[in-house]
Amino acid sequence: MPILGKTRQREWETVWKTLADMKSLFAADEEELGMNGLLENIQKLVIDQFQKADAGLPTVWHNIGFGPPLIFALGDDVNHVPLAEMSALCSILGDQADTEALIDASEAAGYSPECCSADKGGIGAVVKGLYPDPCCIVGINTPCDSQVAAFNSMAELRNKVPCFAIDAPAYDDERTYQYMASQLRELIPFLEKHTGRKLEWEKLKQVCETANRTAEYLWQWMEYRSLKPTMQPSKLCAFTMVLMITLIGSPLGEAIAKGLAEDAKRKVESGVKFFDEKVRAIWYQDPVWWDIQLYDWMEAELGLTIPMDIFGYYCSEGWINTKNMDTALYDLGKLTVNAGPMSRQFRLNMNRYIDDFMTLHKRFQADCGIMAGHVACKHAWGGVGLFKEACKKAGIPLLLFEFDMFDSRVLTRKELQFELKRFVNEIAIPAKERKERAKS
């Protein structure tokens, strides 16, 4: 299936076709406005990227710890590619076999098998030439070591392309934010030089205001998502992370957030109940990208809902002061380390990881937690004992299992379903019933 009148690589065409099919599938359902908004804007993003690549406009590659607002501020004629984009698109919208082929391609090219599959898929996409050639690369050393390896690999695979490395400290204080802001200030002339575009304050201000409105919509959305009964599908919470990594500061990102919030509001006000939930859990780690329909199965078979996940919730934390360039850069730096998915949770010690879980658990009226332990995430696994201990102390039932968020070969759907079913039926629901009996 050609995209914008041209034949593209098979992986892209598969994504494109599924996107079109899914759009027509959901368009007929009035209750799926949130999902429609997501699909609509993901399609716009893909169109935008191809149009820019076809027009020969400059492309900036970046790894997933770096958000795109500064790239957006260079103007509408600069393309950007988050490294893991193809991992996500193939898994969510294309063919999962393609994601796994990209993972294998990266390993065959020498990329470490122990690294994160999000990055492995991204490196595979680079190896297979699925992204437009970059004019420059921006890398950041957060959220994890795999990101550092990914940045190094991008740089090595395109060894004539200029790279800019951002160093995020493992602290959470004024000095950290100032240091981050100073690096972003240095990044601007680098981006200007290699894209040939000028970053104007007025444009950056506009991007930051868009990011702020997006955050506001997400906050509104969270309020609705925390209510009982749940009014939207669980799987929507997984996409907040995609929004943050790919679209924060863009009108497309704002449109997605607005769509989610308005959809939730309309359903709450009109009393639409999505389904009868038996138990609700905070999903505490990566979504199962290779089978996003698993959330539908959890709802239908187990009565389990996920009102929010770890990475989605804090996406909306970053508020950018648009008084002037300095305040904006300071807040963008702060947002990168404090609201970036995974950067927030794994840059410091486990206290924040645990405290965030407890906050989510309370705010979203959850009954239990599910730590979907991505095999490559040694940051989470390194502190899992402390996390388990904290949950035990708080009396929160916790399921913990190993899987890979982009590779279905590590833990299959059947095995995953078995784990979830056993936990929900034998621990979570009985614990909730005991709690309710004790209250009454």
Partner: protein
Amino acid sequence: MLITAGVDIGSTASKAVIFGDDKILSSVIGPSSTNPAQTALEIYRRALELAGKAESEVAVVVGTGYGRAQVPFAHSNISELSCHGRGAHHALNSARTVLDIGGQDTKVISVDKDGNLLDFAMNDKCAAGTGRFLEMMCRVLGLRLDQLAEMHFSDGEPCMIGNMCSVFAESEVINLVNEGVPLPRIVKGLHLSLASRVASLVKRVGIEPDLVITGGVAKNRGVIDAISNKLKFDLTRFPPEVDPQIIGALGAALIASDSARTK
């Protein structure tokens, strides 16, 4: 008298318990087969016969274990986690951590003061650390399972045998035999290997006293000794009249009683 039954179809052994008047009326243990439905029926009927009861007198039957879905006469089936937790708590009220070493998997189950399941960890992907591991090694060594405990308490230091893979461990054991290492040293090494595998699983859930051990392997005193040493923690024994291998079936029978009462 309310009579209920629990039938536990495990990977190696199948167990049936007839329960009534707050006590075990009878229990039967038999080998599992490739026809779990037939096995279930046979051990159930034998248990009824031993208890002197007829099928029509049993209010509710609950199936558990790997073959629980193959117990055609069961009114419901419950996973072995809940059953082992419940059974162990009934047999010993002070039990808070249950270590079940079965033929195919190892489970650590945490229960509260009322026997409710709080948490668990399982090794169900690998034969290392399960009863199957010891069975395999007995074949290689030409020993019976009931000979292992006696050998464990013989003189000699244990050999070092890896705990990550039963296939590799089997090769190691063959090498040790060919090097002329005395069997008791190998057996102690095997128990130590199993114990270290099990200990890491126990630590994942955390030890809350009392810690009890269920399953067929619980009958091997050598394994219990090795696990206690590895954990540096004394395992609590069930009362002598309770066979640790029937705990899952007992739990199933107790859950069947609950179900009959709420009917």
